[in-house]
Amino acid sequence: MMEEYAVVGKAFRSVGGSDKVTGRAQYLDDIELPGMLHAKILRSPHAHARILKIDTSKAAALPGVKAVLSAVDCPKLPFGLDVPDARIFAETKVRYAGDEVAAVAAETPKIAREALKLIDVRYELLPALFSPQEALQEGAPLVHEDKPGNLVKSYVIERGDVDADFAACDYVFEEEFASSRVTACYLEPFGAIARWEPDNRLTIWTGIQGAFQARSEIARALGMNPSQITVKVPAIGGAFGGKIWIRNFHPIVALLAKEARRPVKFVLTRPEEFAASRPRVPAKIKIKLGMLKDGTLVCKDTAIVADNGAYSWAAPKIVLNMSLRTDCLYRFKSVRTRSYLAYTNTTPTSGFRGYGNAQSHFAQESMIDVCARKAGLDPVEVRLKNAVRQGDLTLHGWKVRSCGLTECIEKARAAIARGRKPQADPNGTVKRGIGLACMNHVSGNRAGNNFDGSSSMVRFQEDGKLVLYHGESDMGQGARTVLAQIAAETLGIRPEDVLVMPIDTDVSPFCFGSYSSRVTTVAGKAAYLASLQVREQLLKLAATLLEAAPEDLDVREGRIFVRGGERKGISVADVCKSAIRTRATVGLTAYVAYDPPTEGANEDFYGDYSSAYTYAAQAVEVEVNTETGQIRVLRVAAAHDVGRAINPNGIRGQIYGGVAQGAGWALYENMVYEGGRLQNNSLRNYTMVTATDMPEVEPIIVETQDPVGPYGAKGIGEPALIPMPPAVANAVEDAVGVRIRDLPITAEKIYFSLNPECEGPAS
């Protein structure tokens, strides 16, 4: 039996929720500063072209225009992540349709838009590359002249003797899978406000997932020191990985504000969000899989070719995730992966919920079904037979401290079997099938030997309220709620008495940000440890006041009492009153920097890099109309090992939301390009799941009590999206016997697979 807690695991209203239902929550575009100007960015209409001339003089002369900038006016410092190849504006050439060419700040958005039309740019078109396969061919034109072969990064990762193991297998199968370009499509467009302060300091307001990383990247682009910059994070209207890293507009808005000597706001328009945000890295993944007759998965050889787009952001790290993680889902004896990430003249790709792991799960979890079927085995039984278990050391060196994978598989299988609809309607037009897919993910991810933790500061006020400072953005997933619950549980106070502060890099403790499903586990642990220290201070002072020994005291619901003699006690508020601004001089404050107990991966990518791996199995039931090819996801049973549920309502929300995004990707989401230009750059033609298409979802929470996470908790931010596309693909094959290997699984693809005599689209 797991320990019962007062706050952890209990339904609790989300912190900041009442501001959101009343319209008071302040998002970036709700902030108005005195004298603020509005910025617009001129973007390249061409996928690849040399810039012959940029003339901004007419725009600068337009009344109401206060600043116009292009590359000549800006620092030429490269910025970016593993492969820093970005510049503030395109310098000698544009590399994708959407590339930043110039920018304007004006009194009104309308004047700024008018001014853009007056900027004269002459281009000389260059041959463009739209796929990594083309880009990697010999003699292909170069996207960046200093990047030979258009290769951004390649990885070769090998464990065990794959070739020998294949030779000993009963079956070897090979298949290729492809994932489409999809975008995070958060509802609140991304943007920033910049204002220069006295002392040459810069304040940036931006709804970003990682405030401190943003600060250092903006500093790098501008040639400043991070401590000269303050990043403040307002309410964030969704992010899903799309707002982890800065964009070019961050340094641009800062430079416009400097030039105009006034604050400047920039917010992406929805078409810009589509054309110039950072979509998920699309990849072609070829898998060769070896297995025994009894269903034992032995070895796997994978080849990945992925599309980086024109500039490199997180794609190298994402392709690394793609190349490793699924190997640790089952007990493979040996694996080998060769991955290539190539530049193309398309929108730079980067992070989106799943961070590479979703793409490789589509391939592997589809592959398991294909192989099991070919071998005449039950795909679910094959998964159960090979699933990793608690205590395993995986072939990449992960220490599996807690693992509920088999329980998830069993529960999802049982749940989807209950209440199944008939497999075919009497008229034979509609067929139904079920499919299951598993996933593993991380709760934090140490890159090399870097810090992978979080910091927290908690401080009591004289009225007994607790102020909690942290640095991990709440973009809607409920970070603030979970942190408040953890602090309240640890200190024995009510969660309503915890004030979770907004993020301001001058004040907030050092953190990495909200990604890698890490916040509950690492920031939660930092908040737990800081609260524990303050609890000690609190009880020590209370002991003096109560004339008792601190170790005899306990605190519950804001009251400190002597254990066993519950009537003798004092309220937390009274202790605070006697501690703060009194001669007792007790700080009731603690600052904790926490780093999880993992070593990180070595140069060969071997090593334990997350303190808590997460596991899930999702089973779906789909309905296929055999005349039209139309697919509907009817039901989803989503079983997730969350370690310990801190906020069950929040977990359900993450599961439903992940299922919706995963189903959208599986069935319709796809960015369609023509000559390098995005054709569906609007919510009108980029189809997402609406209230009417949402399947019935049964969330199943599996608790394995992780030994490291706070109160046993692990992350749940990304996992629910990851198994959806393969689960749907597996269910579609179960329904109509057709295997779709490239996302999305559209009605058209089903139709032409069911009617091979009809001529398919010429793609």
Partner: protein
């Protein structure tokens, strides 16, 4: 040439000078500082800018402000406040229907309008009423639960009033 727009805003008679072509969304947000109405796309696709015009949901990002001359507009600021939330707002909090919150004001207003006209809607009616609102966070499930919960509570409260 600016024009005078007179209308009832959240129950108050309001007069504001606007550009004839100005959209209601901009007038609410920029001139009247009611920023609870959100702009998610500016093309009438996401529903985040929904307000009620004479009780019916409309998209403020498409509607010229002058069209509300002499009529009644309700924005999220007019619905309830922290100490006295509308039952729909209460239910959204209770059911965990709020994540990032950007679609929330529009969702809440459309739900209120639905329940005003149809106190006991079926699940399909709720889905239809909210089908013009995109939410990227929640998968809609808890939003539907919240609307059902609000409907029950409002019906019960109405029943009590009837007996009083």
């Amino acid at each position: 040439m600016m024009k005078a727009l007179t209308f009832t805003l959240n129950g108050d008679q309001t007069r504001v000078e606007v550009d004839p072509g100005e959209l209601l969304l901009d007038v609410l947000r920029r001139r009247l500082f009611l920023t609870g109405t959100k702009k998610g796309c500016g093309e009438g696709e996401c529903g985040a800018c929904t307000v009620l015009l004479d009780g019916q949901p409309v998209l403020a990002c498409l509607l010229p402000a002058m069209k509300v001359q002499g009529r009644a507009v309700t924005t999220i600021e007019g619905l309830g406040h922290e100490q006295r939330l509308h039952p729909v707002q209460e239910a959204f909090l209770e059911k965990g229907a709020v994540q990032c919150g950007f679609c929330t004001p529009g969702m809440v207003l459309s739900s209120k309008s639905l329940l005003d006209g149809q106190p006991q809607p079926s699940e399909d009616e709720i889905k239809q009423a909210l089908s013009g609102h995109l939410c990227r966070c929640t998968g809609y499930v808890q939003i539907l639960e919240a609307v059902k919960d609000a409907a029950e509570k409002m019906t019960r409260a109405e029943g009590r009033k009837g007996h009083a």
